[in-house]
Symmetry: C2
């Protein structure tokens, strides 16, 4: 293995339409590089980055309308979702189940396997949202947590969070909202999704997605301190006492990057980004629709459209990084790096392969 071989170029974002990650904001990149060699998992050794994490969590609280938030910067949305289920399981007695819409991210399948809990998936309605009647049918006294998604991975849909909160309350379960992707768009919409819109117990909101922080910077937030207490493990050889995080050593770069970009963009910069991204999604949806493709109305900046298999593969052969929903619809995620010019170039190729 020669040194030269390690100097390969990373993926650029010029043709990336499928990712829920994006090019980090310059302020985030700068901070991540500066704090690369720190570990917020050891706050007594690395106190500065530990301070940045506390401040980042406070700023995330502003985004999700929660005063005095309890939480931390996680490795990503999977960890945050897993921790929400773990806290619910640990706070309940005996064998428990989790009720989520089938649109929930596959990290809940992963969490169910890891945590050894039953995952009950409720069908979605015709508009790809959790079907409340189906959730009611699945929830029972053993349900530890009901999950709602605020910005689904496949269609960008927001589940009826207040109605899900009612179901959770009826069976004595907690309510977790997965806003990993949608959370930095939703404050600028009319959707009910936040801690102030419903009695949400925990939430996932990832700075390293629409928040434009570098990976790894997920967000796990809880309304009550009991949630973190239910996750705490003693840390004998560190000069701190307990650790609620799933990881031990953690990325200071992710924490510092999240802190820097939240400081820079919340709220005005994120509002402008939402408006640009939503306009791009509306544009792409209209253009695909005009070409005769069946398009799902983009309520958030994510476009799903039926595209024949051969056209999908021809576009991938052209270098477009695109992916499909479980029902084989093309999905284009209008992340911050996705510009009108990229979409126009993509449409030229859509026409060429049609």
């Amino acid at each position: 293995m020669t040194r030269a071989e390690t100097r390969r170029a990373p993926q650029d974002f010029e043709r990336v339409l499928s990712s829920m990650c994006t090019d980090p904001h310059p302020a985030a990149r700068e901070a991540a590089e500066r704090f690369l060699a720190t570990n917020p998992g050891d706050p007594e050794t690395y106190p500065t980055v530990a301070d940045l994490e506390r401040e980042a969590v406070a700023m995330l609280g502003d985004v999700v309308a929660l005063d005095d938030p309890h939480g931390y910067v996680a490795a990503g949305g999977t960890e945050a979702n897993l921790q929400a289920v773990r806290a619910a399981r640990n706070l309940a007695d005996g064998d428990v189940n989790v009720v989520a819409p089938e649109s929930a991210h596959f990290s809940f399948q992963k969490a169910a396997d890891v945590l050894d809990v039953e995952l009950r998936l409720a069908p979605t309605d015709d508009d790809h949202r959790a079907d409340i009647d189906a959730v009611v049918d699945l929830a029972d006294d053993d349900t530890a947590v009901v999950v709602g998604v605020a910005g689904t991975t496949e269609y960008g849909r927001v589940d009826p969070i207040p109605a899900l909160a009612d179901v959770a309350a009826d069976v004595g379960a907690r309510l977790h909202v997965d806003a990993a992707w949608g959370g930095f768009f939703l404050p600028f919409t009319d959707h009910d999704w936040s801690f102030s819109d419903a009695p949400v117990d925990t939430m996932t909101i990832d700075p390293h997605k629409v928040g434009q922080a570098p990976v790894p910077a997920g967000g796990f937030l809880a309304r009550d301190p009991e949630t973190l207490d239910a996750l705490a493990i003693a840390t004998p050889y560190l000069e701190s006492d307990t650790q609620p995080t799933l990881g031990g050593t953690r990325s200071g770069g992710g924490v510092a990057g999240a802190h820097a970009v939240l400081s820079e963009l919340w709220p005005g910069g994120y509002r402008e980004q939402y408006e640009r991204s939503q306009a791009n999604a509306d544009y792409l949806a209209a253009e695909l629709s005009a070409r005769g493709y069946d398009v799902v109305d983009p309520e958030l900046p994510l476009v799903a459209a039926d595209l024949p298999d051969d056209e999908f593969h021809a576009l991938r052969d052209e270098g477009w990084r695109i992916s499909r929903t479980a029902s084989d619809a093309l999905r284009v995620v209008c992340m911050p790096h996705v510009t009108r010019e990229m979409l126009d170039a993509f449409l030229v190729d859509v026409d060429a392969v049609a």
Copy 2:
């Protein structure tokens, strides 16, 4: 929150003696910065960093003497240890237990809570290694995995791995070796610890510790492909099929950094580092011993010594980042950033507070 406030200086390493992290190697830092905006968790979108990960795993195989290793670059040692226990649990039937020495890292406590398995801790012997008789007493037909530590967090001790393998075989359990910290020192010692020294099933070896990669770059390795199969979760919307990792989106910077530094330092550079670090540990141990402190012989580059409580706190007040074992012994980890000059400066302060 002003921009200026985000430009705080990170912790430097000048007085860090307690951390198992270190300043990344320059080649690792350069690669991590270059690949900051990539995600090996989505290999179809980010193929270059996915290639780097495969190559990094192959190089880790060289370090641990395993041809054709199966594994990945994890978020850290906690994830790797958790995944080893998860695979063992998933491959077993019914309620299982894990047997580990009490010197095992607290991530096994975390794993036991997360995975809902019983953790049975065996006492260590007078030299802080797993007591084999105690492990035999605790292991039974429900034991899914026996854990050995190759370089303990508190004393840098290497458990008798071949003897633990015999215990595991006797009860039909798997054998996991936690070499998170020790793994980049041990190839240059006479210890029996690797895949070629015993029928080890899985191992944790973290590039972001002694490997000098940036965080997050842990290492999870398995001898057989069945281990990763037991962890695989379907990934419906990605253009790949399944995912064995605990995280979804993962750090391309960690992967590229690990790849770069492994390419640069294995084996000669790591050998030199081991020799420097061990010489520093031997020096510090001798100097402390000469001053009358009770010192645990440093078999690997980690010095533990009895130090009165008031002296410990006085040294922390001087800015030294030091920590203690569960039995309140000072521990100094001779990581790559720890130089003879740092140790001399530390000894001056030890004398001053005595």
